[in-house]
């Protein structure tokens, strides 16, 4: 049984977590979801970006935090090469000069059932900040990078001087940059913040799991190979150890569609990710097929759901997004 001291300590830590700069910075983010995998190269970032863009197309306000410190790929796939800009804190109520909201969040019929009128002040809460900006540094913020696809984004590439220079940071420094992104970015009002994690269960993953208050859960991306699903088991167990819900397993590169007849070819065998989901008693979110267009689109900096909106990949991602929206919404209702 916990001693009085332990309970007091827990209460103190809970209070601190709720009132931390990170908690305050994310206070208007409805759902926070991390995407991870045990193994690298399973298409985690591609899945994250396309899910985010699909959610944005449905009218949600979405941002991605690229927490892959050593191999950030979100900017490339989103075609977003800019650097972070300091929020317009010296002009209370003003707009950030760099912000490019063209084509941003057009849909009134949005996925979350709220009527978002997307004026910038509402989205980024400048009106709210107007009262707060003062002489102290508490409200100094960076604006996330706007992309043409209605998804905001932050990555190490957004602050790193050149794409060619390697990031040589060890544990605490990786923790530091992720926590600084969480606390100093003007995330504003969001329906979804997706966090793209590097493979494995290293510093970045543990930092995200332990730093984001009210993390809705994790999506596990796997390919239908034993080598991937085995490592995913470890990743899922890590999340369970830390009491982070698993929203489900997403199978990527499930089949290759023949470019001529669209006949499915099982590249890696039978649905082992689905078996993994059953075995670990978590949901199976769906399968994304492998198509040459995915890679071509990513290289061109245009998400495949934009570039090939009628493709099988885009349709499957749309189904997964719908499932996810309903899952997190129902989870929220369960808590109430």
């Amino acid at each position: 049984m916990d001693s009085f001291y332990d309970l007091k300590q827990q209460a103190r830590e809970q209070w601190q977590a709720q009132h931390s700069p990170i908690a305050q910075s994310l206070s208007r983010v409805k759902h926070k979801i991390a995407v991870f995998s045990g193994k690298g190269g399973v298409g985690k970032t591609t899945a994250t970006v396309n899910l985010a863009v699909t959610l944005a197309q449905q009218g949600c306000k979405v941002a991605i935090l690229d927490a892959d410190v050593h191999g950030p790929a979100v900017p490339k796939i989103l075609g977003a090469a800019g650097k972070l800009d300091v929020a317009s804190h010296r002009m209370p109520g003003g707009h950030n000069s760099q912000a490019n909201h063209e084509g941003h969040h057009h849909h009134d019929d949005n996925c979350c059932g709220h009527d978002h009128h997307h004026d910038h002040d509402h989205h980024h809460g400048h009106g709210h900040q107007e009262e707060q900006f003062g002489g102290d540094t508490h409200n100094l913020r960076f604006e996330p990078i706007r992309t043409p696809y209605g998804v905001d984004m932050v990555s190490v590439d957004s602050i790193w001087p050149s794409r060619e220079s390697p990031v040589m940071w060890r544990g605490p420094f990786k923790m530091r940059i992720i926590r600084q992104f969480l606390s100093t970015i003007n995330w504003g009002e969001l329906d979804y913040l997706l966090v793209d994690l590097p493979p494995g269960t290293g510093d970045e993953v543990l930092t995200v799991m332990s730093s984001i208050p009210g993390l809705d859960g994790m999506i596990v991306v796997s390919t239908p190979q034993d080598v991937s699903t085995i490592v995913c088991t470890k990743a899922i167990n890590t999340a369970k150890e830390m009491n982070i819900p698993i929203l489900g397993v997403l199978e990527n590169m499930s089949i290759l569609c023949c470019p001529h007849c669209e006949k499915p070819i099982k590249l890696f065998g039978q649905r082992s990710a689905e078996r993994l989901a059953k075995m670990m008693e978590v949901d199976f979110l769906g399968s994304i097929p492998f198509m040459v267009e995915v890679n071509e689109s990513s290289d061109a900096g245009i998400p495949v759901v934009i570039n090939h909106p009628d493709s099988l990949v885009a349709r499957e991602i749309s189904k997964i997004a719908d499932y996810l929206v309903s899952k997190v919404a129902n989870a929220g209702k369960g808590e109430d």
């Binding site: 300091v86 540094t137 100094l140 220079s165 060890r170 544990g171 605490p172 926590r179 600084q180 930092t207």
Partner: protein, 128 residues
């Protein structure tokens, strides 16, 4: 001789001075000469966050002074997040930060192209 931006040089010197001060504070804190509240307060007095934001464009457009940004990031992070760092990485991780600060100072000294008059040796950390 290549002309240099004196504003940038001043920023670099400010970064080096802050790094020296920070590593001394870390040393004092990890050897229990000052308590956590004093440690955090002294680091906050560096105003690292303000410096980062005020000089953001310079940091982004001048790769050579990136270590200066890293110095202020370390100081800002420790000031704001020392509880988290100690809980997950232990007190010794702060001494790792001293090494990081030292490395940044070394690179910045090279950037300034001169032996710094900041008297680094007399304030060298006693922990290694």
């Amino acid at each position: 001789m290549k002309s240099r931006n004196t504003g940038i040089d001043d920023l670099v010197k400010e970064g080096m001075e802050a790094a020296i001060q920070a590593r001394e504070l870390i040393w004092k804190f990890t050897t229990l000469q000052i308590n956590q509240a004093e440690f955090v307060q002294e680091l906050e007095d560096v105003h690292a966050k303000r410096i980062i934001f005020d000089n953001w464009d310079d940091f982004q457009h001048n790769e050579a002074i990136y270590p200066c940004l890293e110095i202020f990031q370390v100081i800002y992070s420790i000031a704001e997040d020392v509880d988290y760092q100690i809980r997950y990485y232990g007190l010794d991780s702060l001494r790792e930060d001293i090494k990081q600060l030292d490395m940044s100072i070394k690179i910045l000294k090279r950037y300034l192209g001169q032996e710094s008059n900041l008297n680094l040796s007399s304030k060298a950390c006693k922990c290694h």
